[in-house]
Amino acid sequence: MLGNRDYYTRERILVCVSPAPTNPRIVRAAARMAKAFRSELVALFVESPHTQAMSDNERTKLAANIALAEQLGAHMETVYGDDIAFQISEFARLSGISKIVMGRTGERSSVRQALFGRKSLVEQLITFAPNLDIYIIPDQSTPPSRPKGRRRALALQPPSSRNVLRTLALSLVATAIGTAFRHLGFADSSIISLYILTALLTAVTTTGRICTIVSSVLSVVLYNFCFVTPLFSLASYDRSYLVTFGIMFATAMVAGELTARIADNARTSAENAFKTRVLLETNQLLQQAHSAEECARVAMNQLIKLLKLDVVFYTAEHGTLGKALYESAGTENRSASLLTDYERAVATWTYTNNKRAGASTRTLPETRCLYLAVRTGDKVFGVIGIALEGREIEAFEHSIVLSIVGECALALESDRAAQEREEAAVLAKNEQLRANLLRSIGHDLRTPLTAISGSAAILRKSDEKLSLEQRCDLADAIYDDSLWLIDTVENLLAITRVEDGTIRLNFTSELIDEVIEAALSHVAQASHGHTVTIEHTDDILLVRIDVHLIMQVLTNLIMNAFKYTPEDSTVTISARREGAFVVVDVADDGPGVADCDKPHIFERFFTSSNTQPVDSRRSIGLGLSLCRSIVEAHGGVIEVRDNHPHGAVFRFTLPAEEIEIHE
């Protein structure tokens, strides 16, 4: 690895993949060379309009050769273009290729190349990229000229009956118009032009070259038959007509050929435009997706649009594959056969090894789906399965598929990053709250602790000097402050239980009367001359609650009533059923809550500046915020209202439980 830094570029060897039967030899030779040079191997397939006309046999061979290249460690790439040499050289230039390995396939000069002055692929490559080292692997058994062979294959495809009819119709129309021209006394050259136009139109409107050739021949024959003396025979008196026929045929052929090529290019570019559109659309849709699942769905739908095949998606969760999503290409739902345990196992293999597997690959190929890892670098975000149904993914589709999968991986990565940021923000906020809480409490605990330790110290050291009354006062101070500490600690414990979120509330069925009773017995000793009354109903009010937390709510509300109302005030606690809820009121007839405090009274650390507690005991603004947290955790609401004629009513609701009595 150290050595690599000494070189400006690394060796990269390019090998061209084709369906030719000798291609494996060339690929292997390139792989050996790459090993010898310790360089990276890149396998390239140039997709041109002609590749679409490949036979099934050729397709299978191509797929096998691509698989071989990948197996030998090559990085597979596909480019598009009519001009193969130019595409190879451009690719080589852009991706820093240093050496190209190719077979002699198609390099023998043909008559046509000689005629039209066309250079061989190697010669063209040398012209386009003079800096490349080109290695030729000699090969005798190769059938002649690949592009030419393919073109012939295309040309030899039998034309459809529709195309044949069209060709014949055009020729007949031309003949009819020619007859009209003859009657109108137009020159023969007009009629010849008419036939050339016919050949041209045939080339444009039909596919395959046979129709063009037929049209050219028909033009010559019909012209000879209908317009050259002797009429209605293929003989001709004037020898010069032979030349006319020849030129006419050649012109029709060349025009037809050129037109056909334009049509081919148009088709290819339309296809490319479709692919580009699918990719672009994928990109846009992924940007709009807000969740990992939406991203997965977008990728799946785009793949279906491209391939018309069923797609499954396994999301990755905590180091294993999570739930499987399924999208059908048609209306039929095949999820049952595609989401089997075996298919999942292969998908898991893909996930853990970060390599493709399943149908059409060499790893576990007996599955229904081809599995691709959705990844960015080493991070795998999921596995996409494409139900091939025995079909091969063509090279041009393949690269689009990889692009879509790649886009999806990027979207998932950014989604995950956003999620992590959000979690970090929540964590930071919680930390902030916790810090505030600790600061506030630490501060508020000092005072009672000072009172307790100070009083105790005095009692211990100067027992004899103190009067009985003084000693009682000190003991009372210790007692009161420790009670306050106990309440505060209870609240803190309750807060950690409710707001931690990790501890589940312990719900049991309770009678609200019993809970009120128990809460009241807790606080009874703190009532400084207050009267507490409970208004009972005859209804049996059963609620499903965490009884300690609800007791804490009641305790806090009753203690607040004691604290903020003068002695001899009355605190009334009542409970009743209202619809699906049990409503509990803790009402007092004290001064009430100021309107400006009402919106904030349940906020944490809120302490009113308007109201001072009667016993001048400090408040740290935890009690009511805790009440709200607890009540909301139970699915109820808490609010403060005015009592009539004066005072405050704290009202909270709890979902009522229906009663089912077992005798």
Partner: protein
């Protein structure tokens, strides 16, 4: 206090401050207190001295408090009061189900502590002096005739449903002892599901209405939130 003077209480508590507080309080009220700091010593002391009552902190340094209860229960019916610092009910319920008679949650008041000690000592002296198969039961205005199968309040017969009567008998036979919800529902219905707990709440309410002098301030049957019920001797 003559009776209490003879009572020997074993205090198992590893926190010295609390140990000191409890032993001082008990000492002041005439009980003899022996103090130990761990479970092994507690078992040894229970074997060798045969205390009248054990106060046991659940959080011991050597062995689990529940284990101590189980070991002692294997040979002795001595009242055990558990002291727990945790607010979680599960600890108390586990201790009660293992054979403890009562519990105290820290922080507790000295009055509460003394009341529990008195109640448990009384209960154990009653069960040992009177036959557990006594044919009648009296508590304040309440009178139960087990043999005849009826209960009266201030001399007038109570009309109780069969379930209410079963519940009342169960509480009366375990007077002064905290019975957990699970224990009660198992005894009454044979199961202990959530729906049984709801039923128990309802029956307890109707029973209280019939036997308590003021049902809104129940004295005879105490509610131990999240744990269970106890019939208190009036």
């Amino acid at each position: 206090m003559n009776n209490a003077a003879k009572s020997r209480i074993l205090l198992v508590e590893d926190d010295l401050t609390v140990q000191n507080l409890v032993s001082t309080a008990l000492d002041l009220h005439g009980y003899v207190v022996s103090k130990v700091c761990n479970g092994q010593a507690a078992i040894m002391d229970a074997v060798s001295h045969g205390p009248s009552l054990i106060m046991l902190d659940l959080g011991l340094p050597d062995i689990d408090g529940i284990e101590v209860i189980t070991k002692i229960r294997s040979w002795s019916a001595v009242p055990i009061i558990v002291i727990s610092a945790r607010t979680e009910d599960s600890d108390k319920i586990a201790a009660l189900d293992a054979g403890a008679d009562d519990y105290l949650t820290k922080p507790f008041s000295v009055d509460e502590l003394l009341a529990r000690v008195r109640a448990n000592l009384r209960r154990s002296s009653m069960t040992s002096s009177e036959s557990t198969e006594a044919s009648t039961f009296d508590n304040g205005p309440l009178h139960i005739d087990y043999a005849a199968g009826y209960a009266t309040k201030d001399g007038s017969e109570l009309s109780l449903t069969p379930t209410e009567y079963k519940l009342l008998v169960l509480l009366a036979k375990n007077v002064d002892k905290v019975l957990t919800h699970t224990f009660i529902t198992r005894e009454i219905w044979g199961t202990s599901w959530d729906s049984d707990l709801a039923s128990l709440r309802v029956f307890m309410r109707t029973l209280r209405k019939k036997i308590e002098a003021d049902p809104s301030h129940p004295k005879m049957i105490q509610t131990h939130m999240g744990v269970g019920y106890r019939m208190q001797r009036l």
